[in-house]
Amino acid sequence: MAIKETMTINVGPQHPSTHGVLQLILELDGETVVKAVPHVGFLHRGVEKLAEYRSYHKALPLTDRLDYLAPMSNNLGYVLAVEKLLGITDALPQRAKVIRVMLAEITRIKSHLVWLATHALDIGAMTVFLYCFREREMIMDLYEKVSGARMTSNYFRVGGLSLDLPAGFEQDVKAFIDAMPGHIDTYEGLLTGNAIWQRRTKGIGHISAAAAIDIGLTGPALRCSGVDWDLRRDNPYSGYEEYDFKVITREGGDTFDRYTARLDEMRESCKIIQQCLDRLEAGPVLADVPWVCLPPKKDVLTSIEALIHQFKIVTEGFKPEPGEIYQGIEAPKGELGYYLISDGSANPYRMKIRPPSFVNLQALPQMIEGALLADVIATIGTLDIVLGEIDR
């Protein structure tokens, strides 16, 4: 009688390829995974509780640090949610909406570049990592020009943007999106046709459409299982209904499909950014809602009314009507949702963040059951998780 013993291995919180502090307890039978249990919570900072003690304006920087690889996306979701709660969504100026879409798509490219870099590095192709981070430096330069910070930009405000675009920004963005498709072709040349890459990604981490919807998977991972759902097209926000872009879907549901789909999404983002640049016109960048939006800085420094106005908004904040809303946006990793409850005071009564990576990670155990140890790493990479978002 043979006793089959499984070996329990701890892919601990400190590991080169778990994309943050994720702990996976794997039960291995040889090299095959029998059971996988993810443990999260090592990066829990209590963002939701912190937000309850800050006014709506002051809770905005907390959202930068959720998915720190796509900070402007988190900002966008939050300001859209607060604007919906206030009911001022229609008062947003056109220029602010176009710039928001442009920066959101640049952020999508940024997030997908990190995804490709770490995914390729996990599977062993180290050079792609360096190439992607070189492009990411160009995006960080754009972020720095527009907001002053490379990563946690905190550029959007409730009612529009904090500042208008700096001079020459549009030329920089144009240079970036002209160069980007060439770079994406370089990555494809290194990986897509490579027989080793294909053997490592085809058929790995498969999930069917029904299982994906049931487990709550969203974003590119869901679209590659054949479900045609993109919040930018289906529940548009910030003027997305005016842009012409394709929603990338695939039928296979395995890692290779998710890889090609995210590369195509990067190309589509370049097209959307081009449309934004064409659509950009002069105009205000903050809505004309005095009890919410801060006055322009030069007025604050010269006029007493503007100073009092700014003082009141910064110290007291604004008080929305009691009520609750849910705003979901298509973040690079999936559906990022903000559920805000207002009780009529200046602080949010409850801010619940629905992180896409948190729900996507739930799908991991069923995707790697019966797979080999090397495939576990590939699957974590293809789900594109970031622990800042999962743990909040």
């Binding site: 919570g41 709550g216 479900v227 849910y326 979901g328 602080n347 948190f358 729900v359 739930q362």
Partner: protein, 159 residues
């Protein structure tokens, strides 16, 4: 339209629906916690709300019932949202799990248990998810200190 769905829901389960609120174009239906699984099953199978976006708890300290469990639903085919709420009292702080309806509720309910202490009956694996396994207390409750159980409160101004 969400109103049509709500109307049909009220027709099917008139005793379960406690309240319907519309705010900023979103519909919120408050149901009794005993009927949550039947209502969810009905909404998933009959009304097509096959996607559970979010499940969370809210602590209304000072109001009876103290907790609310909120379910944000989405219909992928018609692209509509709906919100369900179920009140949970502090004395009987438990509600049935909906993991049988949508498996995604698993981790959301664990987080709700971890943060609020709302127990989910028949949950396959109810344990803490964000806090360490041996933590005492439920951090997101309104009477839990912001700075944690063993520190002095921050003396400066937060807001």
């Amino acid at each position: 339209m969400s109103q049509a769905v709500v109307a049909k829901l009220k027709q099917e389960y008139p005793a379960a629906v406690v309240d319907v609120v519309e705010h900023r174009g979103e519909t919120t239906v408050t149901v009794k916690k005993e009927d949550i699984v039947t209502v969810c099953t009905y909404l998933k199978n009959e009304a097509g709300y096959n996607f559970l976006c979010d499940l969370c708890g809210v602590d209304y300290l000072g109001v009876e019932p103290r907790f609310m469990v909120v379910y944000n639903l989405y219909n992928i085919a018609t692209k509509e949202r709906l919100r369900l709420k179920a009140a949970v009292t502090e004395q009987n702080c438990c509600i049935d799990t909906v993991t049988g309806v949508w498996s995604t509720a698993n981790w959301h309910e664990r987080e709700c248990w971890d943060m609020f202490g709302i127990r989910f009956n028949h949950h396959p694996d109810l344990r803490r998810i964000l806090m360490p396994a041996d933590w005492v207390g439920y951090p997101l409750r309104k009477d839990y200190p912001l700075q944690g159980p063993d520190r002095q409160p921050y003396q400066g101004r937060l807001s």
